[in-house]
Subunit: 306 residues, 2 copies
């Protein structure tokens, strides 16, 4: 095998109360990437989409991942990557993670799966470092593994899959720009112990809710007293969307990653569709362009499709 095509799912990081430690994979949207081995140590990138991302591998998220794999190999192997992106860069649903994770998983396939999952995650994190300045794994891990991932620790890397029930995910991407680096910078470096206690009660509740398939508990635990109050200011319509989606029957939700996308979890498909209608109505009235998705949790992560 010297060529592979993979589908790389979008992801929702943080999951409201789990800042920097939780994420889940989506069935839609997803990127398509095709990777081919070269017999010279270089990385070639071709874009088959309209996003105009850099093709210089050192400035491209997938490119730096492939360069790091190439460096590890230390021989005459290189890569030619063709990218068909569907997850909009800057949307907050793991566009850079899909590129990074897809490149790392595809390369590992072509190399006979010689690297462990942890090594693949480490390669992919180089892409996140380029995209946001921080080596975080809360999009990378669910993108690679599928389902809900807990990143207990980054140093050392400790990733745990959390069993979760079937859930519908509704996402709205209001097309404003929120840079991940900015969204990180406005956070306070100190938090009240009282708020931290409330937050870790919710995280424990959310994880327990997932593992017990207790939908009410999932809903009650989707509360963020630390990050959301600060970051939501960057997203017009956030409070209204959240309140109306809850009224429409969503279990709960909040900012996807560092925004501007907002996600909501629902138990039933019908509710997820009503939630989508609510999101559409709010952003139509405010007058901001948007995309919406009604999807489910992706259980497989980056997948070979040919």
């Amino acid at each position: 095998m010297d060529s592979i095509k993979v589908k790389c799912p979008g992801t929702v990081a943080n999951l409201v109360c789990g800042f920097d430690i939780l994420g889940l994979a989506l069935n839609e949207p997803a990127d398509i990437m095709e990777l081919r081995l070269l017999d010279e140590p270089r990385v070639l990138i071709r874009n088959r989409d309209a996003f105009n991302l850099p093709t210089d591998p050192e400035k491209n998220v997938a490119g730096v991942v492939l360069l790091s794999v190439m460096e590890k190999l230390g021989g005459q192997t290189g890569f030619e990557l063709t990218v068909e992106k569907h997850i909009k860069p800057g949307s907050g649903i793991g566009s850079s993670a899909a590129s990074a994770a897809g490149a790392a998983v595809a390369a590992n396939h072509l190399l006979g799966n010689r690297f462990s999952t942890e090594e693949v995650v480490q390669f992919a994190m180089n892409g996140e470092k380029l995209a946001s300045g921080v080596k975080h794994a809360d999009n990378i891990a669910p993108c690679i593994l599928g389902g809900v991932s807990l990143i207990r620790s980054i140093h050392p890397l400790d990733i745990i899959s959390i069993p979760a029930p079937d859930l519908y995910v509704t996402v709205v991407h209001p097309q404003i720009e929120v840079r991940t680096a900015d969204a990180r910078q406005i956070l306070k470096q100190q938090v009240l112990l009282r708020d931290a206690i409330r937050q870790w009660g919710n995280i424990a509740g959310l994880v327990t809710g997932f593992m017990k398939s207790d939908y009410d508990l999932i809903g009650r635990s989707l509360e963020d007293v630390i990050i959301e109050p600060v970051r939501s200011i960057l997203i017009p319509g956030f409070d209204e969307v959240k309140q109306k989606c809850r009224e429409a029957g969503a279990l709960g939700g909040g900012i996807s990653g560092s925004g501007p996308s907002i996600f909501m979890l629902s138990k039933e498909e019908k509710t997820a569709q009503e939630v989508e209608a609510v999101m559409r109505a709010v952003y139509t009235r405010i007058g901001i362009d948007f995309n919406t998705y009604v999807t489910t949790i992706n259980k497989n992560g980056v997948e070979k499709i040919s």
Copy 2:
């Protein structure tokens, strides 16, 4: 039925990374309480132990609980309580919670279980308020319910039982005084966001470890970067006990409640006994009197024994 005898288990609150939100019940030590209905609205307390706790119900943890039940009843019913305490007051293994929870559960039994578990917890929390100035439930909840309890939230009260595998618990109570109120006062009111993130990763890991019966994950997650570094200063020998118990094979552990007791979890009974030997050796050498217990997680909570 106008009289009941109950066994009220000791408890370990916080469980290292779960400050104020997690606790588990122990099979040993436990208090014995006998409660009898009176046909006049008063609370009588008799102590059948050597701890010399106040018998004035307004100054007694179980007493204030019974007074709050009596007030709720609003009629001519009162209580006569006989207490045989085995959990040393101030030991950090839920002595006040056992008194409070035992009184509340026993009273509810005698009254035909007319109150919900949540109401019983609320009655019992009045006892914790007297003991420590704070209405916390991380000892009360596991004492009443058995097993491992998550207190997701106090306002509104939201208690969730966390399934956990069989585990051995070794406890050492070095006989120095650490007042709960003091242990609370030395905590910083602000914490670094970076530390809070590490803490909630560990909490999510611990809960997942319990629910997956993943002993290694339980061990890795028993890390506290916020409370332990401050509170452990009040407990001579803490760092040495912790390090040597880990070397002896304990999964991990730390301060029980607000101390001074230290607890360690082990997968095997033999390890738990070796951990006990380590604890004994340290405090014998330091020259502080101590008690130790090697026990298991109590699954039933406060139990009627006659």
